[in-house]
Symmetry: C2
Subunit: 183 residues, 2 copies
DNA sequence: ATATGCCTACCTATCGATAGGTAAATGAAA
DNA sequence: TTTCATTTACCTATCGATAGGTAGGCATAT
């Protein structure tokens, strides 16, 4: 595939880890240079050394998240489409239930009209690439090519929505019940 | 029904209108006393006269939104369940496409773990009451009582998720395609 | 005369961001 | 192999802007 994989220094990675955790709880406005710096034991000015400003950090966050997410999925293989769908749903389930966090791009997507353009673009890229990935799987399953991406978007919407409801109502079993059709 | 309908003065209503519009674009951190005040032509200190602090304002926002949303639906009637489902989906569609805004409680729900408790409680109330309302409709449709609320949650999740994807990808038709099964 | 609804004037805390500097590592040239 | 230049990765100190919030004054309407 394409996607030149960006590599980050140890410190840059820890900045991203910290920011991602905060962003996946409260969105774009919930991570700050100061709080990240305090958490990883450096000064906020040093965070700016690694990421010039907040929109650069935010975009890097979304980009790394997207790459990691798709890498975790692997390429859609030509057989066992149902198993790929199950694995796709399971990756959302793990984020919510095991990691206790929301989907970063679900958060960013909700507030996208208030985000700096570079962050919004990377957020869109997450959904575009996920729809393409899932669309291929649905085609393998036999869905008509012109319907495959709609079906893909429908499944992603269901998973993102299930995360929000399950999280809001503090009921992990709700996610499983809502998404039962995909498992 | 219950729910003593809170009434607000002219100014308080305009404060809520302004805050709601901002919150439905960027979430809880995207509305501020200063910006609301500027927009409606008073001083920020005067906003505090109507709403003592931000969590009170945020909770009032979610409460008014929930009441207005459910009032708009009316009571689930004993017949024409399919029409009620269509109207339910249409109210999300209108918010997104005609008003150009997200669901307030969808936004709050995404960031719920970072919200002050009173706001989180009202946000949960939105989902609880909506699940109950839709659950009744699904029972009318013939869904088993023990499955009705799961089915309800599944539909709400689909609608909330469809809003996020459609908004993120700036494609209004995507919402309609994703939710085609409900129209 | 008392309550309402707004004001001026301020506070503290925090935001993202910048200027200017330092110590240590690295790499090339003499 | 020592010298010099540059880069890396941080620091202190501070900036202007904005956040939520408060005390107290001043009209207007009852």
């Amino acid at each position: 595939m394409k996607s030149v994989q960006m590599t980050y220094s140890e410190t840059a990675s820890r900045i991203l880890d910290s920011a991602e955790r905060m962003a996946r709880q409260g969105g774009y406005n919930s991570f700050s240079f100061r709080e990240i710096a305090t958490e990883i034991g450096i000064k906020s000015a040093s965070v700016h050394y690694h990421f010039a400003n907040k929109e650069v950090l935010g975009a890097a966050l979304a980009e790394r998240y997207t790459n990691r997410f798709l890498d975790g999925l692997g390429e859609p293989t030509a057989e066992d489409a149902d198993e790929m769908l199950r694995r796709y749903a399971a990756s959302y389930r793990q984020a919510l239930i095991e990691d206790g966090q929301m989907c970063l791009c679900g958060m960013f997507g909700a507030e996208i009209s208030d985000l700096p353009d570079p962050v919004a673009r990377q957020t869109r890229a997450f959904f575009v690439r996920n729809i393409q990935w899932l669309g291929q799987v649905f085609q393998i399953k036999g869905v008509e090519p012109e319907d495959a991406e709609t079906e893909a978007a429908r499944m992603i919407a269901a998973l993102e929505g299930a995360m929000i409801l399950s999280r809001s109502l503090q009921d992990d079993t709700l996610f499983d019940r809502i998404t039962a059709g995909y498992s």
